[in-house]
């Protein structure tokens, strides 16, 4: 295929750690094939060369935290036929959304000596709170296989085949012993979106929810179980308040434990 007929792929970064776009470069076995199939039109982590939009598929990493980025995401949307968010920052606001539960002025003064040099918004918001998105890929970071599936699906105008059940289903499929039932280890698996391959339980650790809430999770019931396993209110609040803290279901559950915490 010539460059003129290849679909144009763009990768954009907002507030983030770069890990999700790095996932694309971590596809060592597939990267050169991907580069054959699409024109990498804008991907600053990988290339100095940039091509003008419009873009057939834009992958967006990171959350919106500054006035400038709130404008820039509008421009990205306008230049993109399809826009897919990659990872917890773009999909739920990321770990930096912890500012949404605090006073951002105080946050600035903790880190910076001269707060007036800093331009930032009160909140860290997911891309969907700012512009229309066509698909959201979960994970902190995203899974390599799911990323390739999403790119493939959008280039072929089909829906991505990404299961939306809980991590528990992945554990059962893998034949893992349940860490919560067998060892009393607190685990967010029952309320967390699948996609990692039940990584933490496979390493004898409870899931910490880095893929965010599954659809219709019963977080209240799980919080009860976490309490019966000996976790205090503060710990339950913190458990739901990490990389997907601002995802609705996790946010509501953490707020339910806020007053009684500590």
């Amino acid at each position: 295929m010539t460059a003129e007929t290849k679909p144009k792929l763009a990768v954009w970064k907002f507030a983030s750690c770069d890990g999700c776009q790095l996932t694309l470069l971590d596809c060592e076995d597939e990267l050169l094939d991907v580069a054959d199939a699409v024109e990498i039109a804008y991907f600053l982590e990988a290339s100095r060369a940039t091509v003008e939009g419009p873009y057939d598929l834009s992958l967006v990493e990171g959350s919106i935290t500054t006035p400038e980025d709130a404008v820039r995401i509008e421009e990205v949307r306008a230049a993109s036929r399809r826009l897919v968010t990659i990872g917890a920052c773009a999909t739920a606001g990321g770990i930096q959304a912890l500012r949404n539960f605090a006073d951002v002025e105080e946050f600035i003064s903790v880190v910076y000596a001269t707060p007036e040099f800093i331009s930032t918004l009160e909140t860290s918001t997911p891309i969907s709170a700012n512009v229309r998105v066509d698909y959201e890929l979960r994970g902190c970071p995203i899974d390599k296989g799911q990323l390739l599936e999403v790119i493939n699906a959008f280039l072929h105008e089909r829906r991505p085949n990404v299961p939306d059940h809980s991590v528990c289903v992945e554990c059962k499929a893998k034949g893992n012993v349940c860490v919560m039932v067998a060892h009393g280890t607190p685990c967010l698996g029952p309320v967390t979106h699948a996609g990692c391959g039940a990584l933490c339980p496979s390493y004898h650790r409870g899931c910490y929810g880095c893929f965010g809430p599954m659809e219709n999770p019963n977080t209240g019931s799980l919080a009860g179980w976490l309490g019966r396993l000996g976790m205090g209110e503060g710990d339950i609040m913190r458990t739901f308040r990490t990389f997907n803290a601002y995802a609705d279901e996790f946010r509501r559950e953490s707020e339910a434990h806020e007053d009684t915490a500590r």
Binding site: A15, S16, G19, D29, A46, R48, E68, V76, V110, Y208
Partner: protein, 434 residues
């Protein structure tokens, strides 16, 4: 892009950057002399040190990993060191070896990413590794294979390469069996050959004649090339424990950057990273790595920042050697972690991230809640140093047109592999000539 004679005009180049907002470079030339150089970091602030307050002492390895997707293990290890220091626990034996091993994986992955995908295209005149692959497919495939070997180490020990899940205060959640670890040996032996070839390949690049005289700072360990711990030393007499860091390093907030600038209280700016480590610890490299360095034309000291790509390749070779040594000697420990009980105290930790010394400090209360935290990443330490280099580099290259000058300046900045998540793209290049 406008173009007039360099000595007398105002000129703006937005070659790379109309949209990106994280990092930029600003060069002002006045009457044919450099008047100002700024490496600008626009990366939005994320306030990690603020929201670590009130978290449990067990959480920083997972939380601080999210500062950087390229070197999460570095953040996890410095966090563990600092909190274990506060709690008076030392992790030793096979658990310490496993930490060193996963860290070797990160050095291999991160350095190879930089050497092949970010830096080599500058030397060979390409816009990206993908473009480079059109003419040098074998080289790029070698780079991808090598990078994957590093990722494989992190995936086996950590569960995944980006934000590994298996690291905890006190050790790991699960440790590999001897047999599981042995499976890494064959790919790592191949990786060692690839690393050796990488050293040879990058040594053939054309290096501008340029030397710096920065004070270099790294860790120093009694008998190892420094990765997971050591004293903080320099070539001008600094020799301190991590706990003494705050007495010697000051951080300043400058207007053009969202990264704080660090400097030594007694002297000035300094350099951390592969060249600093190499210059201060050449005697601790494996024999293979020392021989490869010599064959590539490096002495025991290297002060040309453009040759940092060779030093990085030598460190990849060392990391392969060291990983194989650890795997060969590994005996599975009885338990995956040692207990770490919270203590009301302050703890300090330094490790060698791929880009240089990474300092963490945590103050805990008796219940294990973090009262305050401080993190000094390598890029904020190097930022003033990068500006110094750029200044001198531009002085010697005023005859170049703006496009070429900009390209060379970008290359000079990439010599330091500034953390991608902080400042790697330099999109907004502006040169003012008046």
């Amino acid at each position: 892009m406008t173009h007039r004679s360099p000595a007398s005009r105002a000129l703006k180049v937005e070659a790379l950057a109309r949209v990106e907002g994280e990092g930029g470079m600003y060069v002002e030339i006045h009457d044919g002399e450099v008047a100002d150089v700024q490496l600008r970091i626009f990366e939005p602030p994320r306030f990690f040190e603020a929201f670590l307050r009130g978290r449990r002492y067990t959480e920083p390895p997972d939380i601080t990993a999210r500062i950087c997707g390229i070197c999460p293990v570095a953040y996890q290890m410095s966090a563990c060191n600092a909190i274990e220091d506060a709690c008076g626990t030392a992790v030793t034996g096979p658990l310490r070896d496993l930490r060193r091993l996963i860290y070797c994986g990160e050095w291999i992955e991160s350095h190879t990413l930089h050497v092949y995908m970010l830096h080599a295209p500058d030397f060979l005149g390409y816009e990206s590794a993908v473009a480079l692959a059109e003419d040098h497919r074998d080289a790029v495939e070698r780079g991808l294979r090598l990078k994957k070997a590093g990722n494989d180490v992190m995936e086996l020990i950590g569960g995944r390469a980006i934000h590994p899940v298996n690291v905890r205060i006190g050790g790991f959640y699960r440790v590999p069996t001897r047999r599981e670890l042995r499976a890494l040996a064959a790919p790592l032996e191949r990786a060692r050959d690839d690393a050796l070839e990488t050293v040879r390949w990058v040594s053939t690049f054309d290096f501008p004649d340029f030397e710096h005289d920065h004070e270099v700072v790294s860790l120093r360990h009694p008998d190892e090339y420094p990765i997971t711990d050591g004293r903080v030393v320099s070539d001008r007499g600094l020799d301190i424990r991590p706990a003494e860091w705050g007495e010697h390093v000051v951080e300043e907030h400058v207007e053009h950057s969202n990264a704080l600038h660090a400097r030594l209280r007694e002297r000035d700016h300094y350099l951390v990273g592969p060249m600093a480590r190499y210059n201060l610890n050449f005697d601790r490299l494996s024999a293979t790595a020392r021989d490869a360095a010599a064959a590539a034309g490096l002495g025991p000291e290297c002060r040309n920042p453009f040759q940092s790509i060779v030093v990085r390749a030598v460190e990849v070779l060392y990391a392969c050697d060291e990983a194989l040594r650890i795997i060969d000697a590994y005996e599975q420990p009885d338990r995956p972690s040692v207990p770490v009980e919270p203590v009301a105290a302050t703890g300090y930790g330094c490790t060698e991230a791929p880009r240089g010394v990474l300092y963490h400090r945590y103050r805990l209360d008796g219940a294990g809640i973090i009262l305050d935290a401080e993190i000094v990443p390598p890029t904020s330490q190097n930022q003033p140093t990068i500006e110094h280099d750029l200044w001198h580099f531009v002085e010697g290259a005023l005859g170049l047109d703006d496009a070429e000058l900009g390209r060379r300046c970008e290359q000079a900045i990439r010599n330091y592999d500034p953390c991608i998540s902080c400042a790697t793209h330099f999109l907004d290049l502006r040169v003012e000539r008046t």
